[in-house]
Amino acid sequence: MPLDTKTPIPTSFRVVGTRPLRPDGIDKVTGRARFGADMWAPGMLVGRILRSPHAHARIRKIDISKAQALEGVKAVVTRADFKAQDGDLADILDNVMAGKKALYDGHAVAAVAAVSAAVARKALSLIEVDYEILPHVTDVDEAMKPGAPLLHDGMITAGVEPAPTKPSNVTRRHEFGHGDVEKGFKKADIVVEREFKTEATHQGYIEPHACLATLSPDGVAELWVCTQGHFMVRAVCAGLLGIDISKLRVTASEIGGGFGGKTTVFIEPVALALSRKANRPVKIVMSRDEVFRATGPTSSASMRVKIGVTKDGRITAADGEFRYQGGAYAGSPVEFGAMSAFACYDLENVRAVGYDVVCNRPKQAAYRAPGAPISAFAVESVIDELAKKLGMDAIDFRIKNAAKPGTKSSYGPTYGEIGLITTLEEAKKHPHWKAPVKPGQARSMACGFWFNFGGQTCVSLNINVDGTCTLAVGTPDIGGSRASMSLMAAEELGIPYESVRAIVADTSSLGYNDVTDGSRTTFATGMATIFAARDAIKKLCGRAAQIWGIPEDAVVWEKGYARPSGANAGSFEPLSLADIAKSSGNTGGPIAGHTEYNAEGAGVSFATHIVDAEVDKETGRTTITRYTVLQDAGKAVHPSYVEGQFQGGAVQGIGWALNEEYIYGKDGRLQNAGFLDYRIPVASDLPMIDTKIIEIPNKGHPYGVRGVGETSIVPPLAAIANAVSAAAGVRLTQLPMSPPKVLKAIEEGARKGH
């Protein structure tokens, strides 16, 4: 069903925009909710994975005979137990289970299933792997140098004309932009150019990956798993195991956080392979160490950004080079990083070049607005510096150059209704921006952009005979989306919120759905829910027409009732949804609405963040003392959870800016694979996070909804860098701004006489 553009976006709502309790709430506060590791099956075995201790090594031989002979071991698998792949699945398979080479510390090389964790652990120690250790590289700049250790012999950089003749670790070059930057810089009165570096960070979800797999000799399989996309898991696993998609039923458990990190597979194909070999259910739960070493953190990066302005504060040209390493296989988010880098600005001349680089690190996975926070850190830092050089207020400078409806974006399309300037104007009016800065502190801000996605979506809405309805969606609920879906269904049908029960259906009960990612769920699944409700309403009206004996087009649906309408419709008492449902058995059987849809028109989103920071100049330690998020939500369906997304993204950004980083030793091994030394923010590190929801309706959605989940992590890195730089009196260009780094910068600044 295409988007019905004739029906205007409502200006007022009955239940959308209210804050009811979430339908899965009581399960989650009583401990009943079942997450990935909480499932059990008869005869279940424990699966464990053996991982490479080397950053880069050729696997000469794996001897599993001793492990197999150990009492209690029911299966041992290696790469040979998977179906050989070419094309899209080849890298995924190689990451799930190493083939010829181990490409990073933590790379899976074999796995066992045993009757207990203790036996499984012992069995792993009995697997003998003959490694030939190879030179490794973990830094993006090092990996790009000629002569760097090569991860893949045949990797020829794509996107370069003419194609290079020699292989390298650069898998692809991207370029976006328009105009002529060289000409633009000539018109500039002031030009700032700087180099930046950021370290890799992890999504840091509290729930380690977990799954329970059963694969029988006839190819029939069941998988219980915490994932952001069970249809994706089904497709990939069926491919890697060589079984039919229809035979694999995947059920998404409650999911304990993902932020993009659960949009791919790691352990699921392994559990299935073990189960097939043992012919028993196999459960694999990752340890926290495995989560850090062997899932998908985001890129580390190195960047150069150059922006020129005229004396009156108009940007004449913006140019950037973004180099992201994405781990051992192609596919860092540098494309999104380069596309989004300058997306906040209305630019005549702009160029963003991205290099996608491989390193001996775990293959990156999506992390909330993948790639965008990194490039925004560099760009918004330079913007801040320019505003200072111009003597302009940071917000005024941005308003002067901000993208607005009709602006040709730096990555191509022309913007429709967007709210960047509104977030900036609201920021300027906000009590936080107007309050006096406390002694010893500094205040700054930054903007951020994210595309938002739509994608393939399918929902079913069944009307029950008691007037309630059941809504089956195929996008795992990662942060309260069942509440939002119920609100939208109730709004459309005209029934109470409590009368809708939303569930996440398994892959055998519903058509294909894309992953819960790209801030797409409330937008795309929400739109599909509204359409399914409209489909059901059409049928409800048909039944009413049948009851009244009038034509179908003489019935309208208003506020939960079918009513006769038009000159010849006659006069009948309106029929409620419950009335029609009750008699559905006599009027043609069950009533349901469906949508199968590929959603477009997601509507980009923008945010402005304000931050106050204090820096202890003797130790380099930063304290965030006040924080405010202003973001365009299009329409906030459940405002509490919209605020929650704003706050959560901001705090992940605070962690990224200040203390989170992957630390590698000279041996290429990860040194901080735990929550003790991978330092995500704790409650005492933070102030309250103020929020301001701005609603500029997205015309691509019947209620005006935009995705809200990701944009909130884009501005904090730069906002905090700008505030810390102001407080410390020296420009910080490397993340994280951990105390040793800040102290060093302060001391070097003092030596240079800052």
Binding site: T30, I206, E254, G257, V651, L676, P681, M688
Partner: protein
Amino acid sequence: MSQVHVTAKINGDTTEYLCEPDETLLDVLRNRLGLTGAKEGCGTGDCGACSVTLDGRLVCSCLVLGAEANGREVRTIEGMAHGETLHPLQRKFLEHAALQCGICTPGFLVAAKALLDKNPDPSETEIRYWLAGNLCRCTGYDKIVRAVQDAAAEMRKG
């Protein structure tokens, strides 16, 4: 390795179990007793998702041996509500949307209850420091802190 026989009071009920000497209380609760409300987020005492009380004292059950619980009293998230009635903290977490994914929620609730049992009127700073051992990656803690403040206020009124 022979198993250890343990008799403990769990959520008020006398419970017997056998466990390996090196098995943690968390593993016993989850794998032997079916009490999966306590979660394992790290296994090293750094995330608080496995929080329970042991003789009234807040602990990480991943850092307690199952064998140590012999003769002691353990309380978990499963023992927090009374029948149909949620504990005020549970209710306030829902009302304030103090959870998104919900994996850390049982640990936060057990820890917050231990705080309010000891200090019925904690300041925001006291709440934040008390809960520093419970990691939440979704909420940024704002709504959690507000929920605890609101529950404390309600409980003080009686």
